[in-house]
Subunit: 227 residues, 2 copies
């Protein structure tokens, strides 16, 4: 029979999964709003981000109560701290979707995305959606093996981000304002994916007790080409 602590942890886990669902929906809708200059959709993403923030507050409260009631041992405390870091990552993902939606809103009635950039942005949106949905499955299933495959999706996002920077060279024909928009939007998608990977790596930690730092060199190289 599962003890009360582990039942409470299941509630925490469920809340994290729910947050990933909301972050996924937010980023999908933000991408659509951006590509289609859909201001109503953009506004709804911007408004609904408060819901993800609220869930994070509730999760921290759950965690606090867990620690107060159960008098857990050190390992259990680490689990709770890790869950709180995960909720922080997912909340940040929601914020990034909101930032994408704000770019969409800012440029309405035009799309902020030049025609020859649409394909990259669409793909970034698709990778973002895949990566956060996988993160949610990984949390729900406590699947450390699947967590490791998420890094490949992140590599896909880094590749797209690099493609974007190639376009954002001095051959760019769409004006500075569009370059500014696309620079920021590209960064929002890239950071979204990074946070999803961070969430998945914490699941690995929870399941195995081991923190597997990404190769610093690889990530720095990816970062270097994308600032």
């Amino acid at each position: 029979m599962r003890d009360a602590f582990h039942e409470d942890l299941d509630r925490v886990s469920d809340q994290l999964v729910e947050m990933t669902r909301l972050a996924s929906s937010a980023m999908s809708r933000a991408t659509t709003a951006l590509l289609d200059a859909d201001i109503t959709l953009a506004e709804s993403v911007i408004e609904n981000d408060a819901h993800i923030d609220q869930l994070r507050e509730e999760l921290d409260m759950l965690a606090i109560q867990l620690l107060a009631r159960q008098q857990p041992v050190a390992t259990d405390l680490r689990i709770v701290v890790t869950a709180m870091r995960m909720s922080s990552d997912i909340e940040r993902m929601g914020d990034l979707a909101r930032h994408v939606a704000k770019v969409a809103r800012l440029r309405f009635p035009h799309s902020a995305v030049p025609a020859d950039i649409r394909a990259i942005i669409l793909q970034m949106g698709q990778v973002a959606e895949r990566i956060v949905e996988k993160a949610g499955s990984i949390i729900a299933a406590k699947d450390a093996a699947a967590a490791r495959t998420l890094e490949k999706e992140d590599d896909a996002m880094d590749d797209l981000h690099r493609e974007l920077f190639v376009k954002l060279s001095d051959d760019w024909q769409h004006g500075t304002e569009a370059a500014v928009d696309i620079t920021l939007v590209g960064r929002y998608y890239e950071r979204f994916a990074d946070h999803a990977v961070s969430v998945a790596r914490r699941v690995v930690f929870l399941v195995t007790g081991e923190w597997e730092p990404e190769s610093v060199t690889d990530h720095e190289e990816a970062e270097d080409s994308s600032r």
Copy 2:
């Protein structure tokens, strides 16, 4: 005689102050590296960021041990959770300084900052330094009143950020690559200041027990003009 819990909290507080010192140093040096195309300085900022990350890990460990040993009541738990959020904010500030340094490194031997943009960047660096030093003092003194004045510094940063966006219009003469660099750098400074304000607001919460949400409208308006 102060109980053991409050002595441990003092250690947590001292660690947070130390982290703000490092973040302040990092951003000052990153700003200098950026303006002076100083690659050695840039490299040192990039390397030393790991130290701030390490302090954050240690702080979370301190917090965990605190909760395990002291069997604190709910209020005490909220304090510990809040301290952990503050360390997360300050770690992020260190990351942002590292991102500024990476832009500096990327464009070496040139400065990434066009001549007519130097004044704004210099000022952003100065505001950033002031704001994080104030945040450190506020933590050390548990000074809720001073925390409220920090928002003015953040307003100063938002104003500079808006100035930058005015320059980053279609009159921009420095090429797309420089526009991309300055867009990102501007955002790093602006987020640095936001995190410092967040840290200060948490001190208000710790001291007064009240969370004073910023006016959403004001911040959204500032964000809208800066994406």
